[in-house]
C-alpha cells in the first residue's frame, strides 16, 4: 500500500514523538504578520529566548494596514503601534519584513506563493487560520495560535497530532460562470463546517487538475471553513510552472533536483485514505451563502431554506442565521439587495480573481447606492492589474481601486461595514460581525458573482451576464 503526500511530508519533518504522544514537527517555512506575532515575541522575551532559525521565518503586514493610500505614521495609533512592533521584532530577530517600501507587501497567503517561498513538500505554519492556502502547492500548511507561534520561533517546531486524510474527488468540468470558490463552497455545504475536524483534505480529480494555482489556492484557503486545518493538492506540472522563476524558488539545475523531490512526495496511486468523497463538478452552480457560517450556502438559482423543513439543532441554527440576516425563509437568494461589494482577500484577491471580476464589471456601472471596493491581495498583484488596465475598468464601473491588504475581510482596518449593510463579498467568512459591524450581513460568493451583484445592486446569477469565462 502506498502513502499520501500527508504521510510523506509528515515523516520527513517529524523530529520525534513527544512524551504525550503528539509529534514534534519541524516547520520548514514560518510566516508572521502583525496581529498574532507581537504577543509571541513578548513570550519569547519573557523566557529569555531568541529566534532559533531566523532564516526560516518571513514577515509581512496585512491585517491592520489601511488601503486608502494613507501614509505612516497612521492616524490610527493602534495600527501604528502594531506596525512598529513587527518592524522592531523582525529587525532584532533578523527576519525579513516585506513592508510597502519593499514593493513585496501583501496578504501573507498571497505573498508566500508569489515570492516562491511556498514550495511543494514543505511544512508551513502561520498564526492565521487560512494558512491552509499554501496546501495548493502540495505543502502541509497549518494555522496556529500565538503560543504555537512562540514555539515555532523558539524551536522551529511545534507539537501536533497527525490528521486523518480524506480524499475529495471532484470529477468532470465546471460549467461556464462557475469558479473555484463555488467548488469549495459546494464542498463545505455538503460536508458541513465541522465535517473536516481531525482531517486533512486532499483535493483530487479532473476539476482540480484543470485549475490554475490561483484557483487551487482559493480552494485550499477555505479548507479551514470546512473544519479541516490542512488541505492540499498534489504538485504537478501546473505547480512547477508557477514556482519556476520566482524570487525564492530554486533555479536552473537546482530546480530540476527540486522537481524530482517534489514528484516523490506526491501521493502514490495506491495510497490509503481514511475517507473518500466524490462530487460531480459539472453539477456545481454559482454559490451564495445565506447564513452566518460558510456552510449555510446554496446555489444562486435556489431558495433560502425554511426552518420549518428542519428539526433539532439544525432548525435552531437556521432560525438564528435568518434572524441575523433578515432573509425570508423559502425566498429565492437571487434578487437580494446589496449595499456593499468587496472583491479581495486571501481567498480571492489574486490576478485571476481581479480579471474575472473586471470582465463582468467592464462596461457596466455600479448604482449610486452601492459601495464597491476592488482590493488587490499584494503590491505585485496591484502593479500587474494596473499594467493590464484593470484599475481603469474597475474605476470606470464605479469601484474604488485600493492598496493591498486584508481590507474588508475583517474589521481591523478602516474598511468596515456600517450598521446592517449587506455585503456581497469574495472573502471567506460570513460570521456575525466579521466585516466590522455587529449587525452587518455578509453574502460570500465568487469575485465574478460579486461584480455581478455590484452592477445589478442585488444578488444576480453571473451566468445571465455575457462576459463569463468560456468553458
Amino acid at each position: 500500500m502506498g502513502h499520501t503526500l500527508l504521510d510523506k511530508v509528515w515523516d520527513a519533518h517529524a523530529v520525534r514523538e513527544l512524551p504525550n504522544g503528539q509529534t514534534q514537527l519541524f516547520i520548514g517555512l514560518h510566516l508572521v504578520h502583525e496581529v498574532t506575532s507581537p504577543q509571541a515575541f513578548q513570550m519569547l522575551a519573557e523566557r529569555g529566548l531568541g529566534v532559533r532559525y531566523p532564516d526560516r521565518t518571513f514577515a509581512t503586514v496585512d491585517h491592520i494596514i489601511p488601503t486608502d493610500g494613507a501614509l505612516r505614521p497612521y492616524v490610527d495609533a493602534m495600527a501604528e503601534q502594531m506596525f512598529a512592533a513587527i518592524e522592531q521584532n523582525a529587525a532584532s530577530a533578523g527576519i525579513p519584513l516585506f513592508d510597502r517600501a519593499t514593493g513585496r507587501q501583501g496578504i501573507v497567503h498571497v505573498i508566500g506563493p508569489e515570492l516562491g517561498l511556498t514550495q511543494p513538500g514543505m511544512t508551513i505554519a502561520c498564526g492565521d487560520s487560512h494558512t491552509s492556502t499554501h496546501g495548493a502547492f502540495g505543502a502541509i500548511a497549518f494555522g496556529i495560535g500565538t503560543s504555537q507561534v512562540r514555539d515555532v520561533l523558539a524551536t522551529q517546531t511545534m507539537a501536533a497530532a497527525k490528521p486523518r486524510c480524506r480524499r475529495i474527488e471532484v470529477s468532470g468540468a465546471l460549467a461556464p460562470g462557475v469558479y473555484a470558490k463555488d467548488v469549495i463552497l459546494a464542498i463545505i455545504g455538503r460536508l458541513g463546517v465541522q465535517g473536516g475536524v481531525g482531517f486533512a483534505y486532499e483535493y483530487a480529480g479532473e476539476v482540480f487538475e484543470a485549475m490554475s494555482m490561483d484557483e487551487r489556492m482559493t480552494v485550499c484557503n477555505m479548507s479551514i471553513e470546512g473544519g479541516a486545518r490542512v488541505g492540499y493538492v498534489n504538485p504537478d506540472a501546473t505547480t512547477y510552472a508557477y514556482v519556476e522563476g520566482r524570487e525564492y524558488a530554486p533555479a536552473g539545475a537546482e530546480f530540476q533536483a527540486a522537481r524530482q523531490w517534489w514528484d516523490s512526495v506526491a501521493s502514490d496511486a495506491d495510497a490509503a485514505y481514511d475517507d473518500h468523497v466524490q462530487i460531480d463538478g459539472a453539477a456545481v452552480p454559482p454559490m451564495v451563502t445565506w447564513g452566518i457560517n460558510p456552510g449555510q450556502v446554496t446555489g444562486v438559482d435556489a431558495r433560502i431554506p425554511s426552518p420549518d423543513e428542519l428539526e433539532g439543532p439544525d432548525r435552531h441554527s437556521v432560525e438564528e442565521a435568518l434572524a441575523h440576516m433578515r432573509l425570508a425563509p423559502g425566498a429565492p437568494i437571487a434578487g437580494t439587495p446589496i449595499d456593499v461589494a468587496f472583491v479581495g482577500s486571501c481567498t480571492n484577491g489574486r490576478m485571476s480573481d481581479l480579471r474575472e471580476a473586471a470582465r463582468v464589471a467592464d462596461g457596466r456601472r455600479v448604482p449610486a447606492h452601492v459601495t464597491a471596493l476592488a482590493v488587490p491581495g499584494s503590491q505585485r498583484v496591484k502593479a500587474q492589474a494596473e499594467a493590464e488596465g484593470l484599475d481603469d475598468v474597475f474605476r470606470a464601473a464605479g469601484f474604488q481601486w485600493r492598496d493591498a491588504g486584508c481590507s474588508m475581510c475583517l474589521a481591523m482596518n478602516p474598511d468596515k461595514l456600517v450598521d446592517d449593510q449587506v455585503c456581497a463579498s469574495s472573502s471567506n467568512r460570513n460570521f456575525k460581525g466579521r466585516q466590522g459591524s455587529p449587525l452587518g450581513r455578509t453574502l460570500l460568493m465568487s469575485p465574478a458573482m460579486v461584480a455581478a451583484a455590484a452592477v445589478a445592486g442585488e444578488v444576480t446569477d453571473v451566468r445571465a451576464l455575457a462576459q463569463v469565462r468560456a468553458p
Binding site: 513527544l18 524551536t155 455587529p438
Partner: protein
C-alpha cells in the same frame, strides 16, 4: 534563560455558565477589534461582546447568576473560524478554567491546550442536561477530574471525553509545549540539515 515550572492541571471545580448555540465562531467570542492590542492582558471583559450587546443584557455572560463561573458549557463546533488565540485567552482571563461542549473546532481546541484550558466533550443530550441543570441551579458546583474525565454537577454525573495525548499534556503539565520542544535541539538541527529545501538542492 528562565525555566517555566510545569503546571499540572488535574482538577477544575466551580460554578458553570451555559452558552447555547452551534458553530459559535471566534469572531463572536472576541471581535476582531480586540485583536488590535499587542498583549492579551485586557481581553477578559470583552468575551462575547457583540453578542452581549445584541442581547441587551440577556447573554449568560451578563447574567449575574452566572458571575464567577469557572466552567463554560457549549454546544457543537465551538470556536470555529479564526486561529486567534485571543478567543481562549479572553475566556481564560475572564475566569473560565475549563470548557465542556458537544464538539470543538480544531485550532481553537489546540489553542486551549497550549494555554492550559481543558476542553472536554459530552454527547448532545448530556450537554443539554448539564446546561439546563446550571440554568435551574446556577450555584451548582461542577467538578471535573481531568485524569478520568469524570464530571459531576451536584448529584448528576457525566463521563467527559478528551484525546489521550491532550489529557496527558494537562495531567503532566506538558500543555506548555515549549519546554519539551526545547529538549531536542540536536534532533531538530538534524532535521534542519536533512531537508533538501533547507540544506540546498545540489548537495548530496
Amino acid at each position: 534563560m528562565t525555566e517555566t515550572p510545569l503546571a499540572r492541571i488535574a482538577r477544575v471545580e466551580g460554578p458553570g455558565v451555559p452558552v447555547r448555540g452551534n458553530d459559535i465562531d471566534t469572531d463572536r467570542i472576541i471581535p476582531a477589534r480586540y485583536l488590535r492590542e499587542i498583549t492579551f492582558e485586557n481581553l477578559g471583559p470583552h468575551a462575547f461582546e457583540d453578542d452581549r450587546a445584541q442581547l441587551r443584557g440577556r447573554h449568560p455572560f451578563d447574567d449575574p447568576r452566572f458571575a464567577g463561573a469557572r466552567v463554560l458549557v457549549v454546544n457543537r463546533n465551538f470556536g470555529s473560524g479564526s486561529s486567534r488565540e485571543h478567543a481562549p485567552q479572553a475566556l481564560l482571563r475572564g475566569g473560565i478554567a475549563a470548557i465542556v461542549g458537544e464538539s470543538f473546532a480544531e485550532i481553537f481546541f489546540g489553542n486551549c491546550q497550549a494555554i492550559g484550558l481543558p476542553c472536554l466533550t459530552l454527547p448532545a443530550a448530556q450537554i443539554e442536561s448539564l446546561q439546563s441543570l446550571i440554568e435551574e441551579d446556577p450555584a451548582v458546583v461542577i467538578a471535573i477530574d481531568i485524569a478520568s474525565g469524570a464530571i459531576t454537577a451536584g448529584r448528576a454525573a457525566y463521563q467527559g471525553q478528551m484525546p489521550e495525548p491532550v489529557r496527558r499534556a494537562f495531567t503532566t503539565g506538558a500543555w506548555d509545549a515549549l519546554t519539551a520542544l526545547q529538549e531536542s535541539d540536536d534532533e531538530i538541527h538534524a532535521v534542519y540539515r536533512r531537508l533538501p529545501y533547507v540544506r540546498g538542492w545540489r548537495r548530496p
